[in-house]
């Protein structure tokens, strides 16, 4: 079921022609990828390098961050549906069928439905968001995502006042995802969740690209969540379902290891993982003799998001 939203278009919603052109390229690139696989990639990245700079910047308090090299970001992923190591998903994930792709939005909303990804993307303005990405394992990188605020999508489906939480679900496809086929390690499909105010926060985005090109499959194509003040595992990949709920969903990692991974998973140097410190992080691409950097509260986005958690004991709600 496709539900079209009919409302007058505000001036601020009119897409900049340049961005629109860029977006068509992204969609084309995604479609091309679905057909031709990764072969087209190297050429695309060079062609898009120059155009990438033209994309307008989204709301981001740390825009001065220097992006990690794309080669590192593309070859260092935790995509446990495919593999346990960080490099093999680069090739294995190419088997993922991402075209056509649709996202079901359901639950406590006025306009539930299944939307084609292209319809979702054409209604949004893709912008660049340069965020630090901090993994719970103690490493970080800086990624220039291409995406749009999750709030903009949620507003279109009109959440009811009863919607208190948002649950995200990754694709279940044991044909292309080997570890789903053997039910290995975690309970599949992967599930994540946010509180509604976290989901509506302008820093929370859905990304469909990075470094000015379509999101590589190993990095969560065609659509992933990015919540920069939380550990990376909250930023769920290959989203097929977004549910607005009255109660908090149980996320995959919280279910698998409730003492290790909480619902919030906010980056916090003063709340160690039960088995390792979170006080510092290894900066990928920094070379051999650059020591670890000190991890910042809320990954450096405290000014923007700390208010969401005022009065909460962050040790208890980890």
């Amino acid at each position: 079921m496709i539900i079209k939203t009919h409302k007058s278009i505000l001036g601020s919603e009119i897409t900049d022609p340049l961005v629109f052109k860029q977006r068509r390229q992204l969609i084309k690139a995604m479609l091309a990828l679905g057909i031709t696989g990764s072969g087209i990639y190297s050429g695309l990245s060079i062609a898009n390098e120059a155009k990438w700079q033209d994309v307008t910047k989204g709301y981001q308090p740390k825009a001065s961050l220097t992006a990690t090299s794309a080669e590192i970001v593309k070859n260092h992923t935790n995509y446990y549906e495919f593999t346990y190591n960080k490099t093999d998903a680069t090739t294995l994930a190419q088997a993922l069928p991402i075209d056509p792709w649709s996202v079901e939005i359901t639950g406590e909303v006025e306009k539930p439905g299944t939307y084609h990804l292209e319809d979702i993307l054409t209604q949004q303005t893709l912008q660049e968001y340069i965020y630090r990405f901090r993994c719970v394992e103690g490493w970080s990188m800086v990624v220039p995502w291409m995406g749009f605020p999750l709030a903009n999508l949620l507003k279109k489906v009109k959440p009811l006042s009863s919607a208190q939480f948002v649950k995200f679900t990754t694709l279940q496809d044991s044909k292309s995802m080997p570890n789903q086929a053997v039910n290995s390690m975690l309970e599949w499909p992967y599930v994540e969740g946010l509180r509604i105010d976290e989901a509506m926060h302008p820093l929370t985005i859905l990304a469909s690209g990075m470094y000015g090109e379509a999101l590589p499959k190993q990095n969560g194509a065609p659509l992933r969540l990015v919540v920069p003040w939380k550990y990376g595992f909250k930023s769920i990949k290959a989203i097929v379902k977004i549910e607005l709920l009255k109660r908090a969903p149980l996320s995959t990692w919280s279910k698998a290891a409730p003492n290790d991974y909480g619902f919030y998973a906010n980056v916090n140097p003063d709340v160690p993982h039960p088995r390792w410190s979170q006080s510092s992080e290894r900066v990928l691409g920094a070379g051999y003799f650059t020591p670890r950097r000190k991890t910042e509260l809320f990954n450096g986005y405290a000014d923007e998001v700390a208010a969401l958690y005022s009065g909460m004991d962050l040790r208890h709600f980890f």
């Binding site: 080669e71 590192i72 070859n75 260092h76 446990y80 346990y84 960080k86 490099t87 719970v136 394992e137 490493w139 390690m185 975690l186 698998a256 160690p272 039960p274 088995r275 390792w276 410190s277 979170q278 006080s279 510092s280 290894r282 990928l284 691409g285 051999y288 003799f289 650059t290 020591p291 670890r292 000190k294």
Partner: protein, 218 residues
């Protein structure tokens, strides 16, 4: 032939250096991946563990083959395990933490997996410094007792490995299985010896019991 002139001891010594050579070559050619410090941690740690396990293989091998010329290899492998463990620790202190001692202290206090690594390293360090013959003579009977701490160290090593992983346990479980076999062998020998020792003690009552048993069996 050239190879024939090489003593097995020298050959073993050189082979143990090959992993280090491989790591240095990969470092020079930038083949350590996108997180090279993590790669160094893993590769040096893995080789330290493997060499420690090999050290633990020597005694069972001696017992099974009845060949007594292997203690010098046990010593060499043990020292190599310590050597790779030292490099592993050095990479952590120097490259990863940049020798910032306040950060190191905090990291160790908050990371329980490092506690086990630290225990293992301190024990292996003790064993390594008591390797020279002078120390063996000085310690006398206690030397053997001290060097039995290799069992504790190897258990600490496997916990150190297992404790830092998020989900995939295949590799630590594989090494745990081998360690279990190696330690079970010693336990079996210990039980067997204890049984023999008991039999050797001439308690009249026991002999009578045995006789009675043998009679009933007849």
């Amino acid at each position: 032939m050239v190879l024939r002139n090489i003593k097995p001891y020298t050959l073993c010594f050189s082979i143990c250096l090959l992993p280090l050579l491989g790591i240095i070559i990969d470092m020079l050619f930038g083949n350590l991946g996108v997180d090279p410090i993590l790669s160094l941690h893993i590769r040096l740690g893995d080789w330290s563990l493997r060499l420690l396990w090999l050290t633990l293989c020597i005694t069972p091998l001696q017992t099974v083959t009845q060949w007594r010329g292997m203690s010098q290899y046990r010593k060499m492998l043990g020292l190599y395990a310590f050597f790779y463990a030292s490099l592993h620790v050095l990479v952590y202190l120097w490259m990863d933490q940049g020798l910032v001692w306040s950060a190191i202290t905090r990291d160790i206090i908050e990371s329980s997996y490092i506690w086990f690594g630290l225990i293992a390293f301190l024990l292996i360090f003790l064993l390594a410094i008591t390797t020279p013959l002078i120390m063996v003579k000085k310690l006398g009977k206690n030397w053997k007792k001290l060097h039995r701490y290799i069992y504790i160290a190897s258990i600490a090593v496997i916990i150190h490995y297992y404790w830092q992983l998020k989900g995939n346990m295949a590799e630590p479980l594989f090494y745990l299985l081998i360690l279990t076999l190696l330690l079970a062998f010693r336990l079996a020998v210990w039980f067997k010896n204890r049984k023999f020792a008991k039999l050797m003690i001439p308690t009249t009552r026991k002999i009578k019991v045995l006789k009675a048993e043998s009679l009933t069996e007849d």
